[in-house]
């Protein structure tokens, strides 16, 4: 990753390195910040301020299955809001909450770029398009069984 950028521009790798590392560790920890800072040759503070800015970076672990429901305009018009309410009930969680057992977490998200196949739900990095209420329940049940 560091080799992608011009000579002396290792700082450029900070954001991608953070997000790929977070996928491994589950959250951005102080040690992770130290490590990224060292590799990218910047101060830990310079990494820390970036963490606070980007919505996908988080300091606390999310659930094993992070359920994201889009309620932005295109999704809202075709049932996205109702789908999000359904998700809250089904999972017993609110926005950015993680279940005590760590299996599920929920987030109401902004437009994910699936507007023409709305409403959409993403589980971790997997997109699900044209999601009906029944499909949503089945999806969650499937994950419960799989885990």
């Amino acid at each position: 990753m560091l080799q992608s950028y011009p000579e002396g521009k290792k700082r450029s790798a900070v954001v991608p390195m953070l997000i790929y590392a977070q996928d491994e560790t589950g959250a951005v920890t102080a040690e992770l910040i130290e490590e990224v800072a060292k590799r990218c040759e910047v101060t830990p503070l310079q990494v820390d301020e970036v963490v606070g800015y980007y919505s996908m970076l988080h300091r606390k672990p999310q659930g094993k299955f992070h359920v994201q429901v889009c309620t932005n305009i295109s999704c809202m018009l075709v049932g996205g809001t109702e789908l999000y309410d359904q998700a809250c009930k089904k999972l017993g969680l609110g926005h950015k909450q993680t279940a005590a057992d760590g299996v599920f977490s929920l987030e109401e998200v902004e437009c994910m770029g699936a507007c023409s196949w709305a409403p959409m739900v993403a589980i971790n990095y997997d997109y699900h398009h044209n999601v009906t209420p029944e499909q949503f329940d089945a999806l969650i049940e499937g994950l419960k069984r799989a885990q």
Partner: protein, 435 residues
């Protein structure tokens, strides 16, 4: 053999950049090569940089990322004889609500994007490029990485590309969730490993962009349109559209239509035809109420204003913008107070906080709209919402403030009666006195 796409194509489309989408293996280099792949690059290699840029100017291609700036003109601003390294940066942040097309250009036809970038590289004398892709699109980044790896392995990236002596290195760069990083200078800060906040212009990125070097920055779809322009000629491409609005573009249809989907249409395609024929008409036989023509930052058009051709200039004359191609169709039952609130919640959430008019303006508008929507609206709020939006418009550091102000001002202007009706329903007037 045909491949299943996210939505069925329509016979009404004019397929230029999406023509390979349905082919089995369209994302592979072999299928690309068998279907016109890299012909344009080889042709461009025989042309001077000036001639390439001239061809792009002739094509009347305009940026597909939002502002619709003439691409050839932008290309001519980059000082290509500068001794500094020059960079090609591709904007794949795709975060404007209603927009879902750039991902398809990568998912279905990534080598076409690579070819467009290489042609830009020839024209700019640039040898490095970065494709900035929003972090949520991990699967898209992976598709792009796979195509890049294949292109390297087969000699279409790296040293001495296709035996032409031209060298070019191409990389993807993942974002991590921030709409503001789609703004070109914020994107460059993000690419440099910082918070994505906008930069002062001038200097423009063409002169001092990535790592303070001359940088050509365009949207994914803009670059993806270049191979066809070089291959078939700028004039042929221009002729597909209307004067000063060359070619085709991807329309992301969403909302209350029977057949939402991404469709490729020539510039100048009639808006009502897009709704009634491409989109299969309104869902459940409802009536059309309004259209957001090009992503949620565009002023909303009333149904009565939609009998127009979709090119940049005609839509601008009608008071809106073609923007990013995200066309959201609203039916008669749509609650415009809820729409205004949802749009503002987004911009308030995404305001980077760098400049005060945007940070405060979007936050207060969100609060007022939330209160209004929750039944605590006051009559003076209607004018207040319009005023705050108007005061924010044109006074922010980057265009995010405008993006929040424009739909809001248009909704207040065109749908104030719906706000009035809400007040009547809430039996208010009383609440408003000291409230």
């Amino acid at each position: 053999m045909a491949k299943k796409l996210y939505n069925e194509p329509s016979p009404l489309e004019t397929k230029v950049i999406s023509k390979r989408w349905g082919l089995e293996g369209s994302e592979t280099l072999d299928v690309y090569l068998a279907n016109d792949g890299f012909k344009a690059f080889l042709k461009a290699r025989e042309m001077t940089p000036e001639a390439i840029i001239e061809e792009v100017k002739t094509s009347a291609l305009r940026g597909r990322g939002g502002a619709g700036f003439p691409t050839g003109l932008k290309w001519s601003f980059v000082p290509r004889t500068s001794p500094k390294p020059k960079y090609i940066v591709v904007n794949g942040d795709e975060s404007e609500p209603g927009t879902c097309k750039d991902r398809l250009l990568i998912e279905y036809d990534p080598h076409n994007l690579i070819e467009g970038i290489l042609i830009a590289g020839l024209a700019m004398d640039a040898h490095k490029g970065y494709i900035y892709i929003r972090g949520e699109y991990r699967f898209v980044i992976e598709k792009m990485n796979k195509a890049i790896a294949e292109a390297y392995a087969r000699g279409y990236l790296g040293k001495n590309i296709a035996g032409t002596g031209f060298d070019f290195d191409l990389y993807t760069h993942s974002g991590a969730g921030a709409y503001e990083c789609g703004e070109e200078t914020a994107l460059l800060d993000s690419l440099e490993g910082k918070r994505g906040v906008p930069r002062m212009k001038p200097p423009f990125p063409a002169v001092a962009g990535a790592w303070a070097s001359p940088t050509l920055l365009n949207n994914v779809e803009t670059f993806a349109s270049v191979p066809a322009i070089i291959r078939d000629g700028g004039a042929a491409y221009a002729a597909l559209g209307t004067p000063k609005n060359g070619g085709t573009r991807l329309l992301c249809l969403s909302g209350h239509v029977n057949k939402p989907g991404v469709y490729e249409i020539p510039l100048g395609f009639p808006m009502m035809k897009a709704i009634n024929e491409l989109g299969g008409g309104m869902r459940n036989g409802k009536k059309l109420k309004a259209v957001v023509p090009g992503g949620s930052s565009c002023p909303i058009l009333l149904a009565s204003e939609c009998d127009i051709a979709m090119d940049y200039d005609t839509v601008a004359k009608a008071g809106s913008m073609l923007g990013s191609g995200g066309m959201v169709v609203l039916d008669e039952d749509t609650d415009m107070v809820a729409v205004a609130l949802r749009i503002m919640r987004f911009y308030a959430h995404e305001s980077c906080g760098w400049c005060i008019p945007c940070r405060e303006g979007t936050t207060w508008l969100r609060k007022i709209l939330q209160r209004f929507n929750d039944g605590g609206g006051r009559h003076e709020d209607i004018a207040l919402i319009g005023d705050v939006a108007k005061n924010m418009f044109g006074r922010t550091f980057c265009a995010l403030g405008d993006a929040a102000a424009m739909p809001t001002m248009s909704i207040i202007q065109k749908f104030s009666h719906e706000f009035e009706e809400r007040l009547a329903k809430q039996g208010s007037g009383l609440v408003s006195i000291n409230g």
